[in-house]
């Protein structure tokens, strides 16, 4: 529990609310190893030939694909906007799942920061500062969120559905899964979490807060393949569009 620093606690709470999303397993293998993307798979795509479109995906299909044992890691890339900044802030680094119970968010550029979630605790370590710790167990809504993502990772749809309404859409080569929080308190902060991917690769997580701009987190091939992101639109496009 972040006893002496309530505001720090709030920061961490918010951080944790969105962080576990990155716990989604990622294959370390380069995306180039995957089948080449088809030209017609963009958001405003023209209908593909029937043979190429494949079957429509459902949540079970996606969950089954995402399930993978640790250790795993995946690069990530995020973009932040502020009137106080000369240009958008692009943060990149790596998400790691060294074992089934640990999740690490490591920022490498433009600064070094490591957040480790393990044993119900989140530790934020920044270069040159003493690490700050927050306990998840004291915040059951976070523990529930943790549990729900545990469900996502282990492919336990029943458990996942106790926390979120799940909606799956798309085809194997370009799918989305929308998680809408059922818990009223979480729902006051987060409208939805949209997962986007191709086959067994989770490429982007778009967190849609109740207020403000959507927050895209590019993962895996989407992160490493993203070029210069100059605006939120660039980032959202990179998140939503499967490369041609």
């Amino acid at each position: 529990m972040c006893r002496p620093r309530p505001r720090a606690c709030l920061l961490l709470t918010t951080l944790l609310l969105t962080l576990p999303v990155w716990a989604a397993p990622q294959a370390a293998e380069p995306s180039q190893a995957r089948p080449a993307p088809r030209a017609d798979q963009s958001r405003d795509r023209v209908p593909p030939p029937v043979a190429a479109r494949g079957r429509e995906v459902d949540a079970d299909w996606i969950l089954h694909r995402l399930t993978r044992p640790p250790p795993q890691s995946t690069p990530f890339l995020e973009l932040r906007l502020s009137a106080t900044l000369r240009r958008p802030l692009v943060v990149s680094g790596e998400y790691r799942r060294p074992d089934a119970d640990t999740l690490v968010r490591e920022v490498r550029v433009p600064y070094a920061e490591t957040t480790t979630i393990r044993d119900g605790e989140a530790v934020v370590a920044r270069a040159g500062r003493s690490p700050r710790t927050a306990s998840l167990a004291r915040v059951p809504e976070l523990a529930a969120l943790q549990g729900s993502f545990g469900a996502l990772l282990s492919g336990d749809r029943t458990l996942l559905e106790t926390h979120y309404a799940i909606e799956a859409d798309g085809v194997p080569a370009d799918w989305t899964m929308t998680l809408t929080p059922r818990d009223a308190r979480t729902a006051t902060r987060i409208a939805a979490v949209v997962l986007r991917g191709r086959d067994d690769e989770l490429r982007c997580i778009e967190t849609r807060p109740k207020q403000g701009d959507p927050q895209p987190t590019l993962l895996g091939g989407a992160a490493s393949g993203a070029g210069e992101l100059a605006s939120l639109d660039d980032a959202l496009r990179a998140c939503r569009d499967v490369p041609r």
Partner: protein, 796 residues
């Protein structure tokens, strides 16, 4: 002429009695509408003399510990409890009766008035060690960039332009309770996560049971609304909740006992006089006395009548119930009621005058509540005696059967007269009583007022538990700085912080709170102003620090403006805080009067009070006086002083009582016969109580006065009956009825679970038995006894 009409027309008599009752009800209703009730216990305390007593009475009745209520909501899922906690918070926070309502939800700085926000640079200690220079700014901007890169960016970003060092957050963190409980679903919960916790500070003083009752009722009402149909329950502890609880229990128990008494008295009067009119007629003087007493107090004390005055007063005037009884028992065919009452008047008036004079000594006790009690009882006793003398004779049946003719009573009287009466036995009784009083083990006096109003063990345990969970301050100890100016006392408490922090760090203290945490004194604020850079300097600093950074220097114009405002504004004072969320926190800990100021440091989990006494003595505090106040000590010293005054008043009362009886009876032998049973009874009561291990309280003392008054009446009437056999039997009947009634009322009180009622009940019940026996054996004329013994016992 009127008397003849009354004597011949029973219907008229009854109609007049009913009319009297109606007038009394009407008067009662009128007075009740005018009567201002005051619940402030301080009116029942003597004037404070020592600085500690002054603090206790003048300041701490409004101090933080005594106004704090600890709330726990349990019995449902944590998220439901959290919602109820929020709803309760919302309902109470907007209520004027509460100064602080905290449930752990984040201190919302948006509630902090915008015009006060720039003052954060005067309130924050961030730049005391290291100034707001290039290094500090560089450090802050580095951290802010990482905040922007974190998932919490949305929270930090809006604050950045005016507050790149996040001083608002630094202050919010600093202001959070030192040892706050864990938070689930944004609100405080206990360690087990089963009870949502809230802290509420009432505006009403801890000494104000009416205000506390209002606060507790409001909280219960708000909780019922917040709960809806959930199974959750609310538990409440703290001095206010306890006083409301014990007050409610005392009232319920007193009402139950009162009901039983009323039924018992009606039955007793029916049995004693075999007439259904007697309970009505017997109640009229008592009711008139009560109304008269209330009226007198309402008239003379427009500032409000204390609830305790009323409760005590009605207990003490129970003695007037005896007046009509004597009258009824002597009424018989052939004797005009007016003649009858005239015959009784010397004994009756002597008793009433003596008791009134005794109570009148309370007028000089210097305690407002006791003065009210004196006015109430004197007015009530006088009115009861006068209506018995002048109104009641017109209403009774003039020719009831003569009680002296009852064979059963005659036999009883004869047997009593046959009892041996060795004179030495009284000397032995007196000596034994004095010895018992002198040598009984254990303390004689009970100074701890809380023992009289005991909180049950469960509630006490809950209080201890919640206090520990919430880190709520100790009720007993508080560090106090007193001085003439707010700044001096703020600085004095502020100087204690390093020492207190050290004690918190090594566990000798769990935590503390003081106004200086929120509002530094003016010198500190001025020093911080002097250290702040002016606008050109700060702009140059920003340009220098941000030259290679992702941040835009121009975006931070609001920051420059805020710092400039803070640098040039007059220092913040308590009055500036009005209406801000800080005002309530500060005002409970900093009490400002035109000519003096008091700053309090509330302490929680204090292990060694002596250590803090030494700390207070060592700490240099120019313009202020520091001390550790032990509220228990201070309140006990008040009790001791209070008792001193009551005892002095009682001693004076005793002298006056003896003098009155002496003047009335004139002959030393008669005076002796009347006073001996009363005085001996007082000795016996105290001896029995002490032998039973009872520690005496103020309530015992007040009850002793009542017992003495009763005893005096019994003795006066026995003595007054003289040598006449029939009159002796009638008096015996009257006193048996009187003492049975009083015994019934007070032995029920003596069985009560509430110590205050038990103290009064046991003392008076003992007094009644002892007075009855001793008056019967001692107060009578020796010649009458000898004559009776010569007669043969009557047969049935």
């Amino acid at each position: 002429l009127i008397r003849d009409a009354l004597l011949q027309r029973p219907g008229l008599r009854l109609a007049l009695a009913v009319a009297w009752l109606v007038v009394l009800l009407l008067a009662g209703w009128l007075i009740a509408a005018r009567l201002e009730f005051s619940g402030d216990l301080r009116r029942f305390l003597p004037d404070a003399r020592t600085p500690e007593q002054k603090l206790l009475i003048d300041e701490l009745g409004e101090g933080p510990g005594s106004r704090l209520l600890l709330l726990a909501v349990s019995g449902d899922a944590p998220e439901v409890l959290a919602e109820q906690s929020q709803a309760l918070h919302a309902a109470l926070a907007s209520d004027d009766r509460f100064t602080v309502v905290a449930n752990g939800a984040d201190t919302d700085l948006s509630a902090f008035p915008a015009e006060l926000l720039p003052y954060r640079y005067l309130l924050t200690p961030s730049f005391d060690e290291m100034p707001l220079d290039a290094d500090a700014l560089r450090d802050a901007f580095d951290a802010r960039l990482q905040d922007l890169g974190s998932p919490a960016a949305g929270l930090v970003e809006p604050l950045l332009p005016s507050d790149p060092t996040l001083e608002t957050l630094v202050l919010a963190e600093g202001w959070a309770p030192a040892a706050a409980p864990q938070r689930l679903f944004d609100v405080w919960f206990d360690r087990a996560g089963e009870r949502a916790l809230l802290l509420v500070e009432t505006r009403a003083a801890g000494f104000d049971p009416t205000g506390q009752l209002d606060a507790v009722d409001t909280i219960r009402g708000a909780f019922d609304a917040a709960r809806g149909d959930s199974a959750a329950t609310l538990q409440m502890t703290g001095p206010g909740a306890f006083s409301v609880d014990i007050g409610g229990r005392t009232q319920r128990e007193a009402q139950r006992i009162g009901l039983a008494d009323t039924i018992g008295l009606v039955i007793l009067l029916l049995l004693a006089y075999r007439s259904w009119k007697m309970p009505l007629l017997g109640a009229l003087p008592l009711a008139s006395a009560g109304i008269a007493g209330l009226g007198a107090v309402a008239l003379l004390f427009p500032g409000g009548v204390h609830g305790i005055t009323i409760a005590f007063g009605f207990t003490l005037i129970g003695v007037v119930q005896d007046y009509p009884i004597h009258f009824f028992s002597h009424q018989r065919a052939g004797l005009s009621p007016w003649k009858n009452v005239r015959g009784l008047w010397p004994a009756l008036s002597t008793g009433v005058i003596a008791t009134c004079i005794a109570y009148a000594t309370f007028l000089f006790s210097g305690v407002d509540g006791l003065r009210q009690l004196a006015v109430f009882t004197v007015a009530a006793l006088a009115v009861a005696a006068l209506v018995t003398r002048y109104l009641l004779p017109g209403l009774v049946d003039p020719a009831p059967p003569d009680i002296a003719d009852s064979p059963r009573l005659q036999r009883l009287w004869h047997r009593i007269e046959a009892l041996p009466r060795p004179k030495w036995s009284l000397a032995v009784l007196a000596a034994a009583s004095v010895a018992a009083i002198a040598f009984a083990p254990g303390p004689t006096w009970q100074n701890d007022l809380s023992k009289l109003t005991p909180v049950d063990a469960d509630a006490m345990a809950l209080d201890t538990e919640l206090r520990a969970e919430l880190g709520a301050p100790d009720v007993r100890y508080v560090l106090v700085a007193q001085g003439t100016a707010p700044d001096a006392v703020l600085a004095a408490t502020s100087a204690l912080r390093p020492a207190l922090d050290a004690r918190v760090a090594d566990g000798r203290l769990d935590g503390y709170d003081m106004a200086a945490r929120y509002l530094p004194d003016a010198d500190v604020q001025r020093a911080r102003q002097a250290a702040l850079p002016d606008t050109p300097t700060l702009r140059a600093l920003l340009d220098e620090v941000l030259v290679d950074s992702p941040f835009l220097p121009e975006a931070f114009a609001p920051f420059l403006a805020d710092v400039e405002l803070a640098r040039t504004a007059p220092p913040l004072t308590l009055t500036d805080l009005h209406g801000s969320p800080l005002a309530s926190a500060v005002s409970g800990l900093l009490l400002v009067h035109p000519d003096r100021a008091t700053a309090l440091v509330s302490l929680s989990g204090l292990d060694d009070p002596a250590d803090l006494v030494a700390l207070a003595a060592q700490t240099q505090a120019p313009g202020a006086e520091l001390r550790l106040l032990d509220m228990k000590d201070a309140s006990e010293s008040l009790v001791i002083e209070y008792r001193g005054r009551v005892l002095a008043a009682m001693a004076l009362a005793l002298v006056l009582l003896v003098a009155t009886v002496w003047i009335a009876l004139r002959q030393p032998r008669r005076v002796w016969r009347v006073l001996l049973p009363t005085l001996l009874t007082l000795l016996v009561i105290v001896a029995v109580l002490r032998l039973a291990g009872v520690e005496l309280t103020l309530f015992h003392l007040v009850a002793l006065i009542l017992a003495a008054g009763l005893g005096l009446d019994y003795a006066l009437f026995f003595e007054h009956a003289g040598d006449d056999r029939a009159d002796q039997i009638r008096t015996l009947h009257a006193i048996i009825v009187c003492s049975l009634m009083t015994l019934l009322v007070f032995s029920l009180l003596a069985l009560s679970s509430i110590p205050v009622l038990r103290a009064i009940g046991s003392t008076v019940a003992l007094g009644v038995v002892c007075n009855f026996v001793l008056s019967l054996l001692v107060a009578r004329h020796r010649a009458a006894i000898d004559a009776a013994r010569a007669e043969p016992e009557p047969v049935a």
